[in-house]
Every structure is written in structure tokens, then in C-alpha cells.
């Protein structure tokens, strides 16, 4: 199962190593990760997406909470949240495919950030499904290269608990 965990941490060197060690020690592969400073000084937020068993993940979140540099852990399995990631996709382009590709970009509300005779770079933001769907659609044209960010996630206002 896919899990999104949001961790507030002290903004210090070595914290990421402590956290990734916890996941690694239990055989979790981190699928995506984003780290950024927050509005509070000295506090960073890590959003970690992993796949694995719920019971083991519960252990990992407890262990995260126990780390001295971790301030708070939110497991978005139980809380409604919004998630956004960004992908840059460099797509092969010919004269004949240009219109179709630009149309697709329009449908997905993606942006064109660079264009040349034989390729186009688009920027798309959205949740994992949307980005995956877009990439699937442009595969036939030939993808030269992609680069995706980790996901950023925030709980919806009012913290609607999914279990209730």
C-alpha cells in the first residue's frame, strides 16, 4: 500500500540520514521525498512516500516520533490531504506530432517551458495519478527524459479523519 508521511524536523545536518536509515532498516524503499523549510524558523518539513505494510509503517512512524530531531509526524493514511508533485518531461516532437502534443498539454493543463525543432519540455503539476496519466499519454511520441519532484502534501482544513 502507498503511504504518505509528513514529518516536521529540526533543520539540522544529519536529520535526513537518521530518517532514511529508519526506513532502510525495515526494508522500505522511499518512492519519493521532498524536503523544504517551513514558515517556522529552524523547522523543515519532509514529505515521504513509501509502499509497504501498514503494521510496519506504524512502527516506522512511531520510531520517527522517537527520533530526537523529529518534532511531529503526520501519517496521511488516516487524514484527508492534498498532494502535489511536479514533473518535467522532454518529449520527442516532429512537425506532424506538434499539434497533437500541444493539445495534450492543454488538456492536462501542463505548461510548455522549452521548445526546439525536435523536442519540447513540459511542466506538469498534480497528484501522482494525473502525472502518471500524462506520462502514459505522451509515451507514444517518445520521451527523451523526465525528472519528477517528490510530493508535497498538506492535510485538508479540519483534518477529516478517513476512518470515521
Amino acid at each position: 500500500m502507498r503511504h504518505t508521511v509528513s514529518v516536521l524536523v529540526e533543520n539540522k545536518s544529519g536529520v535526513l540520514a537518521r530518517i532514511s536509515t529508519l526506513f532502510a532498516a525495515r526494508g522500505f524503499n522511499i518512492d519519493s521525498l521532498s524536503v523544504s523549510e517551513t514558515e517556522s524558523s529552524g523547522v523543515s518539513k519532509m514529505t515521504i512516500v513509501v509502499k509497504g505494510e501498514c503494521s510496519i509503517l506504524e512502527q516506522v512512524t512511531k520510531q520517527l516520533n522517537k527520533l530526537v530531531d523529529v518534532i511531529k509526524v503526520n501519517d496521511f493514511d488516516n487524514i484527508e490531504c492534498v498532494e502535489r508533485g511536479l514533473a518535467l518531461v522532454k518529449i520527442n516532437m516532429t512537425k506532424s506530432s506538434r499539434d497533437e502534443i500541444i493539445k495534450l498539454i492543454g488538456i492536462f493543463k501542463a505548461k510548455i517551458v522549452d521548445m526546439s525543432q525536435d523536442s519540447i519540455i513540459t511542466e506538469i503539476t498534480g497528484d501522482e495519478d494525473k502525472i502518471n496519466a500524462f506520462i502514459k499519454m505522451v509515451i507514444p511520441y517518445g520521451i527523451k527524459e523526465t525528472c519528477r519532484t517528490g510530493f508535497a502534501a498538506l492535510s485538508r482544513s479540519g483534518h477529516i479523519n478517513k476512518n470515521r
Binding site: 512502527q59 516520533n65 522517537k66
Partner: protein
């Protein structure tokens, strides 16, 4: 205000923390620290190996409840204490380790004696710090002591580069420390406590399963109070030997792999297990899915990650054992539970710990029984790891907490002797006896120099079977007696593979000769080769003022029983081989 160097700040801070003794070994990148020790009031004990320094700090901490301190240099100094940190971490022992480090300007350049100490020790410490600015040093040491000693205790390491040791600033040691990311819950949730008490009140066959957490939080009295009021039998982990009155009818001794038959039976048939400061270690539970299958599990622990880690708890209570039990005590009803208590008492009579007492061979169990008798269970016992450790846990009747010190979680051979020396520094008035195996003892016996030079009177009893006994026992039972590399007296002229050792047949001169070896340190060594000599030798040992080494040649192929094979349920206990 007068400025002090980083090195001076470290020593001053230790003195403010009332550190009575620190253990360690100097080296290049720690020279400023050792220079600051020169002429200071810090009682520093120079060991012969850094690993031993960490175990001494550990033994000091376990026996006193105060944090143990060790100071070593960078690189090999730091890597040598990794085993000691891991040992303390697994058994929740408060320790502060200070390591020298290469200068901040050369970190990462593979400088001489550089190691990524923070990276290496991260998984074996509760927390660790690299101090890059001398202005942070005092605060960091304060934090280190605070983290090491609060909540679930553990080792904390402070890595100090040599340029930080040399630079100076004003020394202000903070009185209090606030950390927004380190919050502890000592109180326990009152609703959970109430629920737990209700379950206990409605139970027929409850069992207390107590671990080291009971000792850490000084909750021994509360356990006695509740167990006596509500007639709840008590089983203990290896680390909680001595925490419950040994003479009480309700005391069922140790559970688990080499636990008593009655402890394991009681646990398996219980309808409620009240786990306090214990973590359902695999050596305690046996096959987890068959552990106490009909029991509701109440789990009291200060560490939320210990709860439901191995076995799902029905009633988790996060909090300090003493605080929680005090609150619970009021809510638990007086109850006779006559059937239950009679049943376990019957088991105690029916399935006692046993060994052959009739013959004239030297059974190691007999030695421990005699030690227990002669010291009245008042001595501090430390053990190495192996068969002798299990016999000591089974047969030594420890009178109180903190007088049975053993490496449980990590199972570190080489722990017992330095830990015993550390314990003696913390308890100069108590008798300290190390129960060792001939294998384990060789892992840190170089520390006899420390005992001799500092006039530390520690007794060592080597239960010498010429083998890594525990390995041999497993090889006998589960590997068809293929004694591969477990014999410590195997020589060139021995058959290549051997499965039938005997004192008559095997080469008689063995290495080392522990008596001569002790003699080379000016320590009295006595070899015991017959049963009748055991008691006089023990008496002689106890009467001697200085260190003594007893080399007792015990039965080679004696096994530890009862035994639950690894991966089997506690019910599937082997009481003895061949019936």
C-alpha cells in the same frame, strides 16, 4: 567572564553533572581533552582497550542507575566503543560517550584516524551530536546527559573535533534544557490505566512479566504491592533478575528460552499478561504467534515504539512504570486467586530447576548455587555471555535490583569483566563477582591491569569447559554434534573434526593457563579440579582482599536446561536430553 577552552568545558561540564568516574583511553585527536583532565578533579580511569571502557561505563551505570561516562579518541577509539554502545543501547543503559574527532577543517578528507563516528554510531545510540562550534559545547553536553537519562535511557555520543576542543568561549552550563522535539510522557493515560485495572480485576490467571524498565523506574515496590494484593505471579526477563523478591511464592523466575518450566507454563496458560518495562524479546516469547495465546496483553512502557512492536497489545499504556503502577495499584482489587496461585506453586515443586547433584563431577550449576549461598545473594554479579550466563540467571538468588548485570539484548561476550570493574567503582563497598566462561573472559581479560593498578577488588569465577559452551550445546542439539570451531583447546595434533571431547583424552595443557596468567598480574589464581574443593576455594576467594581468579574446570558437555529451541513455542520446552 573567564574564557575556557572546549576541552576544559567538557571536563567542567562532567564535574557539574557530578560524574564520579570516567573511563577511557587517550589518542591524538583527544589530546586537548586529556590535557584538561591533567590536574582536574575528574577521576579518570585509563583502560587497556576502548571497548572495555565503554563496558565499564555501562557496568557503572547499571549498578548505580547513574549515567556512565567514557572518553576516547577519534577513528579506532570511536569504532572500538561501538560494541559497548550497542550493548548499552539494546539494554537501555544511560551512558555518555565523548569522542575526539579530526578538525572541522579536514572532516571528510580521510584524515589520519578519521572515522564518520556520527554515521557509524547512529544506529547504536539513542542520539548523537557532532559539535562544530565551541559555543554549543556546554549546551550539547547538557542535552546528552538529559537524553541519556530520561525516558527510556540509552547511550548518547558527543563527537568533538580537535579545533573545537582548542578554541575557547565563556563557560555557562545551562541549568535546564528544553527541546521541542524531545517530549516524554511519564504519566500514562488514566483511561488506559483504568481499563487495564478492570481487565486485571476480572482475570483468573494473570501474570506479571517484568523487564529492565521496572528497575530503571524503581517500580519494584509497586510490583510487589499489586502482585501480593491481587495474587499475581511474576516472571522476569534476564535483565530483571533480582527485581522481585526471590523468596516470594509468587516469584516464578525467568521466562523464555532458558527460563523455568513454571514461568513458561504460567505465561502460556495466563489469561492476562501484564508486561511492565519489557519488550517481548524473542528469547522471552519463543514463537510469537503461540505466545500466551489466550491472554489479553497489557503493556506498560515508557517507549511507545516498544508497544505492539512484536505482539499487539490489547491495552497499551505509555508511561513511566512506577507512576503508572502507583495509579493502577489503587484500582486493582484485592483478590485471592487461590486456584491459580496453588497451581503455579504446584508447578514450582513439580518442575524445579535441576541438575545431577549426586555424582562427583563439577556441574557449573553447583558452583553458582554455592556462590549464591555464600554471598547470600547480596553480591553484585556480572556475567559474560553464554551458558554460564544462563546458569547464573537461573541459580543465583539475587536479593535486589541492580545486582545482576548481564548483556541481554546484544549478548556481548567480553562484557562481564569490564562491567564488573565499572560496577565496583560505583559500589566500592559491595562484593563484585564476575561469572565468566573461558571463552568470553578472553575477550577483555586484559583489563585485569585496571583492577590491579587501581586496587579494584573484583572476583572472577571462570566456569571453564574449554568450549564456547552455548555454541557447542546448539551444535550438539541441532547440528548433530558437529563441534565446528567451538573448542578452545583444539590443537594441531587433534583430529581435524571432533565430536567427543573429554578431559582424559584431549591435550591437557590448555591456553591460557588462567592461574599463571593471573599470577603475572600479581593476582591470586586458584584452579579447582574436584567438587570438594569448590566451596573452600570460594571461601578463600571471598576472604581475599584483592582480585582473585578461580579457574573451575567444569563438565565439558553440560547443557543448559530447560530449553525452548529457537522458533518453538514456550510449551515445547526440552527439560533434559534423553528424557
Amino acid at each position: 567572564m573567564e574564557k575556557k577552552t572546549g576541552a576544559q568545558i567538557i571536563i567542567e561540564s562532567l564535574l557539574v553533572e557530578r560524574v564520579e568516574v570516567a573511563f577511557g583511553l587517550p589518542g591524538g585527536q583527544a589530546l586537548p581533552i586529556f590535557d584538561a583532565i591533567y590536574g582536574s578533579k575528574l577521576n579518570f580511569i585509563l583502560t587497556r582497550h576502548e571497548q572495555a571502557a565503554s563496558h565499564m561505563a555501562d557496568g557503572y551505570a547499571r549498578s548505580t542507575g547513574k549515567p556512565g561516562v567514557c572518553i576516547v579518541t577519534s577513528g579506532p577509539g570511536a569504532t572500538n566503543i561501538v560494541t559497548g554502545l550497542g550493548t548499552a543501547y539494546m539494554d537501555s543503559v544511560p551512558m555518555v560517550a565523548i569522542t575526539g574527532q579530526v578538525a572541522t577543517t579536514v572532516i571528510g578528507q580521510d584524515a589520519f584516524q578519521e572515522a564518520d563516528t556520527i554515521g557509524i554510531t547512529r544506529p547504536v545510540t539513542k542520539h548523537n551530536f557532532l559539535v562544530k562550534d565551541v559555543n554549543d559545547l556546554a549546551k550539547t553536553i547538557k542535552k546528552a546527559f538529559y537524553i541519556a537519562t530520561t525516558g527510556r535511557p540509552g547511550p548518547v555520543l558527543v563527537d568533538v573535533p580537535i579545533d573545537v576542543q582548542r578554541s575557547s568561549c565563556e563557560f555557562v552550563y545551562p541549568q535546564k534544557i528544553e527541546m521541542r522535539s524531545y517530549k516524554l510522557n511519564y504519566e500514562g493515560h488514566s483511561v488506559q490505566i483504568k481499563k487495564a485495572a478492570e481487565i486485571i480485576n476480572n482475570s483468573e490467571r494473570p501474570v506479571f512479566y517484568i523487564g529492565a524498565g521496572v528497575i530503571v523506574s524503581n517500580a519494584e515496590k509497586e510490583i510487589v504491592e499489586i502482585s501480593e494484593k491481587a495474587n499475581i505471579p511474576v516472571v522476569n526477563t534476564l535483565l530483571a533478575v533480582g527485581a522481585y523478591p526471590v523468596d516470594s511464592e509468587l516469584n516464578l523466575g525467568m521466562l523464555g528460552m532458558h527460563g523455568t518450566a513454571y514461568a513458561n507454563k504460567a505465561v502460556q496458560i495466563a489469561d492476562v499478561i501484564i508486561a511492565v518495562g519489557a519488550r517481548f524479546d524473542d528469547r522471552c516469547t519463543g514463537k510469537v504467534c503461540d505466545f500466551a495465546i489466550n491472554a489479553k496483553i497489557i503493556h506498560i512502557d515508557i517507549d511507545p515504539t516498544a508497544i505492539s512492536k512484536i505482539l499487539g497489545a490489547d491495552i497499551p499504556v505509555v508511561g513511566d512504570a512506577k507512576t503508572v503502577l502507583k495509579k493502577m495499584s489503587v484500582l486493582v482489587n484485592k483478590k485471592e486467586r487461590k486456584d491459580w496461585v496453588e497451581k503455579v506453586y504446584k508447578w514450582k515443586l513439580e518442575y524445579p530447576l535441576s541438575y545431577n547433584k549426586e555424582d562427583n563431577k563439577i556441574h557449573p550449576q553447583y558452583v553458582i548455587e554455592k556462590v549464591s549461598e555464600l554471598t547470600k545473594g547480596e553480591a553484585i554479579i556480572t556475567t559474560e555471555v553464554g551458558q554460564h550466563q544462563m546458569w547464573a540467571a537461573q541459580y543465583y538468588k539475587a536479593k535486589r535490583s541492580r545486582c545482576f548485570l548481564s548483556s541481554g539484548g546484544l549478548g556481548t561476550m567480553g562484557f562481564g569483566y569490564p562491567a564488573g570493574i565499572g560496577a565496583k567503582f560505583g559500589n566500592p563497598d559491595k562484593e563484585v563477582i564476575v561469572i565468566a566462561g573461558d571463552g568470553s573472559f578472553q575477550m577483555n581479560m586484559q583489563e585485569m591491569a585496571i583492577a590491579v593498578l587501581n586496587d579494584v577488588n573484583v572476583k572472577v569465577i571462570i566456569l571453564n569447559n574449554q568450549y564456547f559452551g552455548n555454541v557447542r550445546q546448539w551444535q550438539e542439539m541441532f547440528y548433530n554434534k558437529r563441534y565446528s570451531n567451538s573448542c578452545l583447546s583444539k590443537r594441531k595434533e587433534c583430529p581435524k573434526w571432533c565430536s567427543s571431547p573429554s578431559r582424559n583424552k584431549c591435550p591437557s595443557a590448555y591456553v591460557p593457563d588462567f592461574v599463571k596468567w593471573a599470577d603475572s598480574y600479581g593476582v591470586l589464581g586458584i584452579r579447582v579440579t574436584s567438587k570438594k574443593d569448590i566451596e573452600p576455594a570460594l571461601i578463600k576467594m571471598l576472604e581475599t582482599k584483592g582480585s582473585v581468579v578461580l579457574d573451575i574446570l567444569v563438565e565439558i558437555e553440560e547443557n543448559v536446561f530447560p530449553m525452548v529451541p529457537a522458533g518453538a513455542a514456550l510449551d515445547d520446552m526440552i527439560v533434559r536430553l534423553n528424557g
